[in-house]
C-alpha cells in the first residue's frame, strides 16, 4: 500500500496557517502542526497576567494554535525554543523589520526547525507547509524574501506555501504530484478577502485575528522597552524573566540608573509578586496601590523619587502624603512618607 505523504505545518493560531494546512490535508496528505514558543508570543502568558485587560480583548483565553489543531483534527506539537531563538533576536542576518522583529530570520529558523523536527519523527516527514502569502507583509513576504527563507532554512523546494503556490515556482511536492498544484491558491498582497472567502467555503466560522504580528517583537512599545533594557545594561542579552517582565505593567525610567515597573491592575500585581525577591520593590502602605519593582541601583535621593512616582499611581495620589515601604533583595526594608508626584511632573520621556 502506498503511504500518504507527510507534511509538517507551522501553526501560528491565525487564519493563514489554518487554511494552508487544511488545503493540503484535503489532498490526502498527513499533516501535523508545529508551534514554537519563543518567549515573545502574544498568546498564553499575557492571558494569564492581564486578568481584566484580557477579558475585554478576547472572550476566551484559549491557545489559538491548539484550537486550530482541534478544528483541523491534527496533532499539534508545541516546542520550547526560548534559548535557541535568542540568536535570531540578537543577531538577525537579515536585520529587523519596523521594530525589533527579525521576521526573515525568524521564518528561516522556524522552517529549518520544522524540517529537523520532521526528520526526527518515526518515518520522517516529506515537506513543510507555511501560511505565508506573497506580498502580505511588506518586508518579509516579498518574493525575494520567500526565496531566502526556503534557501537559508535548508528546506529548499520542500517548502510549500499553499496559499500563494500559483505565484511561485513549483515545489517538489507539486512536481512529484504529492499535491495537485491546480488545487492550490494564488493569494497575493494584503487583501484578506480571499482568505476569508476560502475559510467560509471550508466551513470555518471563527478564527483568531492577530493584529500587526504574531509576536511582541513586532509591537513598537515592546520593542522600545527591549531596546531600552539593552541600552541600560550596555549589553544585548535577555533571559525569559526579562522578556516576560517587559510585557507587564507601566515602565518608567526617571534616571539612567534605574527603571520602575508598576503594576496596572490586580493580575499584574500578582504576577510581579513572583519577582519581588529578585528586585528592590516598593509597596504603598497607607493606601491601596500597585506593587512596583525597581530594576537597577538607585541612590537614596533616587529612592525618594521612585517612592513619589509610585505614590502617584496609588489611591493616595490626591493626598498630601503617602507611606511607601521599600524592600531590598538583601532583606533590608525602609519606610518613607512622601508627597505623591503631580502628574505634570512625570516626564513624558520617562515612559518606556
Amino acid at each position: 500500500m502506498k503511504h500518504p505523504k507527510k507534511a509538517v505545518a507551522l501553526i501560528s493560531g491565525g487564519l493563514d496557517s489554518l487554511l494552508a494546512a487544511k488545503v493540503v490535508m484535503d489532498q490526502g496528505v498527513h499533516v501535523e502542526g508545529l508551534n514554537f514558543f519563543t518567549g515573545f508570543c502574544v498568546e498564553g502568558h499575557t492571558h494569564a497576567i492581564r486578568t481584566t485587560r484580557t477579558a475585554s480583548r478576547q472572550s476566551s483565553p484559549r491557545n489559538n494554535a491548539l484550537w486550530v489543531a482541534e478544528q483541523l483534527g491534527i496533532k499539534l506539537h508545541i516546542l520550547d525554543v526560548i534559548d535557541d531563538y535568542k540568536d535570531v533576536v540578537l543577531n538577525p542576518k537579515h536585520g529587523y523589520g519596523k521594530n525589533l522583529n527579525p521576521c526573515v530570520d525568524c521564518k528561516v529558523f522556524m522552517v529549518n526547525r520544522a524540517q529537523t523536527w520532521g526528520f526526527m519523527q518515526d518515518g520522517g516527514f516529506d515537506f513543510v507547509i507555511t501560511g505565508e502569502v506573497l506580498g502580505q507583509r511588506p518586508k518579509s513576504q516579498i518574493r525575494e524574501k520567500l526565496g531566502i527563507i526556503a534557501k537559508d532554512s535548508g528546506v529548499q523546494d520542500r517548502l510549500l506555501r499553499p496559499l500563494s503556490a500559483k505565484h511561485l515556482d513549483p515545489t517538489l511536492p507539486e512536481r512529484e504530484g504529492w499535491v495537485d498544484r491546480e488545487q492550490l491558491y494564488d493569494f497575493h498582497g494584503r487583501n484578506r478577502k480571499p482568505q476569508i472567502a476560502l475559510a467560509e467555503s471550508l466551513g470555518f466560522e471563527d478564527w483568531a485575528q492577530p493584529a500587526g504580528g504574531c509576536c511582541f517583537l513586532a509591537d513598537p512599545e515592546y520593542s522600545n522597552r527591549l531596546g531600552d533594557m539593552w541600552r541600560a545594561r550596555n549589553k544585548r542579552e535577555y533571559g525569559l524573566d526579562d522578556i516576560m517582565l517587559l510585557k507587564v505593567g507601566r515602565h518608567l525610567r526617571p534616571s539612567p540608573n534605574f527603571k520602575l515597573l508598576i503594576g496596572r491592575e490586580e493580575g499584574e500585581n500578582q504576577y510581579l509578586e513572583g519577582y519581588k525577591q529578585q528586585f528592590t520593590h516598593l509597596r504603598i502602605t497607607s493606601h491601596k496601590g500597585p506593587l512596583s519593582l525597581l530594576d537597577g541601583k538607585a541612590t537614596p535621593d533616587e529612592l525618594q523619587l521612585a517612592a513619589r512616582i509610585v505614590a502617584r499611581y496609588s489611591q493616595g495620589k490626591m493626598d498630601a502624603t503617602v507611606d511607601v515601604s521599600i524592600h531590598h533583595p538583601d532583606g533590608v526594608s525602609e519606610a518613607l512618607t512622601v508627597a505623591p508626584m503631580p502628574p505634570q511632573k512625570i516626564e513624558k520621556h520617562w515612559h518606556v
Binding site: 498568546e43 502568558h45 494569564a48 483565553p61 491548539l66 484550537w67
Partner: protein, 83 residues
C-alpha cells in the same frame, strides 16, 4: 515504552507558577516518556492550564480523567493513551 518504573499514582508534574504555554509544553515532554495506561497529575497555577491541557489531550488522543481547582491550585489528571 515507559522509561519510568513509577506506579501511576506516583506520576506528578509540577508546573506551578509557570505560565501558558509552558504547562502544555512540559506536559508534552513528560508524556513522551510515559507508556499507554500511565496516569499523570499535572499541578498548575495558571488558569489557562484548564483550557490548554485538555485541548492538548484532545488533539493527541489522551484522556482527561479529572480537573480540580482549589484557590489558585489546579490539578489536571490525565491518562496516556496509545498513539
Amino acid at each position: 515504552m515507559s522509561d519510568t518504573q513509577a506506579t501511576p499514582e506516583a506520576l506528578t508534574l509540577d508546573v506551578r507558577n509557570m505560565l501558558c504555554p509552558m504547562p502544555v509544553i512540559k506536559t508534552g515532554e513528560r508524556v513522551a516518556t510515559l507508556a499507554p495506561g500511565d496516569e499523570l497529575s499535572i499541578l498548575a497555577t495558571d488558569p489557562g492550564t484548564l483550557h490548554d491541557v485538555p485541548a492538548w489531550c484532545r488533539v493527541h488522543g489522551h484522556t482527561v480523567l479529572a480537573t480540580t481547582q482549589e484557590g489558585r491550585n489546579i490539578t489536571v489528571r490525565i491518562r496516556v493513551e496509545a498513539p
